[in-house]
């Protein structure tokens, strides 16, 4: 349904120019959930925003973003507005910033409903209450303001607004990272329900492998603006091949209650900002498996049997 090919986003700052996202390709099928995993600066948010052309005007976007065969990057403003919200909707990281502080929650959702569908005020109100119920909120919450809701309730309200126009694709950028562990679980269940019951496809940008593993059928791992590994979630977790993916898994705290050594195995160093990325493989400076050839050429993402890998010296398959 969504086909992204060679998506590249360049930013110009003063005299310097750098690519935040570099030749990224992926597909998102109907009812599928794809996790874009990456740390800060990896480009995951830039990818998410570029799908709906929400990037600042200075961004130079190239490549193709096809929705059912139509290239979104070539659309004019009117055509784009028919896609936004209706076919592809967005859930942002910080619901307090995304919600209007001076409008009641119900009013905001009704507004979203009426902006995209021809219903009268009363019809919009009915739909709003249904949407709120679907995300686990009540009719009373419709009359509240954003500041009167908890963080979890705000994110539910935002999701209700995002699905108001029955979009086919929901793009969620760190939808749970501002929430505590208990509330996170509820929001992930909600998103999973939307996918399973309504067939909504989900693109989830997150830094958290655990979150992606619970929601997503496939995972693409981003590092420094490129996809370095992609696979079905179960395969990726069972046998990570890229040293970065393995490093991310090893950085996670051990299962609760496990005994033995508690020293974690972090990845050395930190991800370079886009203007300081090394030549050759971008991960080589932090990679325990790097060899001379990693500095000479950049490994391309090669796909075999539905698994993509960009590495000259991958971790052995178990």
């Amino acid at each position: 349904m969504l086909r992204v090919r060679d998506l590249t986003v360049r930013f110009q700052t003063g005299e310097a120019s750098f690519s935040a996202v570099d030749r990224i390709s992926f597909d998102l099928g109907h009812g599928e959930a794809l996790g874009l995993i990456g740390e800060s600066g990896s480009g995951k948010t830039t990818v998410a925003l570029s799908l709906l052309r929400l990037l600042p005007s200075g961004a130079q976007v190239s490549g193709r973003v096809e929705l059912s065969g139509e290239d979104l990057l070539g659309l004019g403003p009117d055509a784009l507005n028919r896609i936004r919200g209706r076919r592809i909707a967005m859930v942002f990281h910080d619901p307090l910033a995304a919600l209007n502080p001076v409008l009641r929650i119900g009013t905001q959702i009704s507004e979203a409903v009426r902006a995209h569908q021809s219903v009268d005020r009363r019809g919009a109100r009915t739909m709003t209450l249904e949407l709120l119920r679907a995300v686990g909120l009540t009719a009373n919450d419709a009359d509240r303001y954003a500041h009167e809701l908890s963080g979890g309730m705000r994110q539910r309200a935002l999701i209700a607004m995002s699905v108001a126009c029955r979009p086919e694709i929901l793009v969620a950028d760190e939808p749970t990272s501002a929430l505590d562990a208990i509330v996170q679980a509820g929001i992930l269940d909600l998103l999973r329900g939307l996918r399973e019951e309504r067939g909504v496809s989900i693109l989830l940008a997150t830094h958290d492998l655990g979150t992606a593993a619970r929601l997503c059928t496939r995972i693409a791992v981003l590092y420094a603006g490129r996809i370095v590994e992609s696979a079905r979630t179960t395969e990726l977790l069972a046998s990570p091949r890229h040293p970065y993916t393995l490093g991310l898994l090893r950085s996670l705290p051990p299962p609760l209650g496990s005994s033995g050594p508690v020293r974690l195995q972090p990845i050395a160093g930190s991800a370079p900002p886009p203007w300081e990325r090394p030549g050759g493989c971008r991960f080589r400076n932090r990679c325990p498996r790097a060899q001379d050839d990693c500095a000479k050429r950049e490994p391309e993402l090669i796909e075999i049997d539905g698994r993509g890998l960009a590495c000259f010296h991958p971790v052995d398959a178990p």
Partner: protein, 256 residues
């Protein structure tokens, strides 16, 4: 057990007529690490601030080395404060954007008159080494640091006056996954070195279980359970603890 370094008794904090901290009591021994876990809004950060007197409690007592901390003033308060340091969640807002790393780390040493000027740079480099940073960051400003580097600088600043108590308020939550593990190891190292006690505040039970001797579970401003870390995870007694454990287990990645 050692005589408690910090003793909190029936601590209450009110905000806007609501009791946000409700008769919290615990003791912390020298060199001990106590985890404070709870959902958002449970009062974790309020507790951190009340213990340090960054906000005034409505009721209750805080004893520091056996003395009434809430009654201290002037020079005695400053001396006690030097020994109690805090690391906040977000280094982007807790570090002064106009200062270099050098001046950020020099300030506590100068304020507390801990170092003569000729030895200052050496001391600062030693502090950076302690948090695994090199001299190349010395003259950078916070915006020129990565998130992980900035949080290390915040930790180095807290360690500068050689505190006896470090309060870490969600110190791992805002940094990247690969950096979280580095920082967790750093806290683990600090825990086993020196006689530094730590109040480790987090909504994430997974790191808390790894890093703490004991864990207190906070809910609606009150401690509902306090136990050794291992036994709390193995045999939780309160529903809130069970809910936190369930949430932590769910976020674990099943690798098979």
């Amino acid at each position: 057990m050692n005589a408690p370094l910090l003793q909190v008794e029936d601590l209450c904090v009110h905000r806007g007529g609501v009791r946000v901290l409700d008769r919290v009591s615990f003791a912390l021994g020298a060199g001990e690490t106590l985890g404070i876990v709870g959902a958002s809004g449970s009062g974790k950060s309020t507790l951190a601030r009340a213990v340090l007197r960054l906000l005034e409690p409505a009721d209750g007592r805080v004893r520091w080395r056996g003395r009434d901390f809430l009654a201290l003033s002037g020079r005695e308060l400053r001396a006690a404060r030097r020994e109690m340091q805090i690391v906040f969640q977000d280094p982007a807002t807790s570090l002064d954007p106009r200062m270099t790393v050098f001046s950020i780390l020099a300030e506590p040493l100068v304020v507390h008159r801990l170092e003569r000027s000729h030895a200052l740079e050496e001391r600062i480099l030693a502090l950076l080494r302690e948090v695994d940073l090199g001299p190349e960051v010395l003259h950078r400003h916070p915006h020129e640091l990565s998130g992980g580097q900035a949080q290390r600088v915040a930790l180095a600043r807290a360690l500068a006056p050689s505190p006896a108590l470090l309060v870490a308020d969600e110190a791992l939550s805002a940094v990247d996954v690969s950096i979280q593990a580095q920082m967790a190891n750093l806290f683990g190292k600090l825990r086993h070195s020196a006689s530094l006690a730590c109040l480790f505040i987090s909504h994430d039970l997974r790191f808390t279980a790894v890093l703490c001797d004991r864990i207190a579970v906070l809910s609606r401003g009150a401690i509902v359970e306090l136990a050794e870390a291992a036994s709390l995870v193995r045999a939780p007694r309160h529903d809130v603890t069970r809910a936190l454990i369930a949430a932590a287990r769910e976020s674990e990645v099943q690798r098979r």
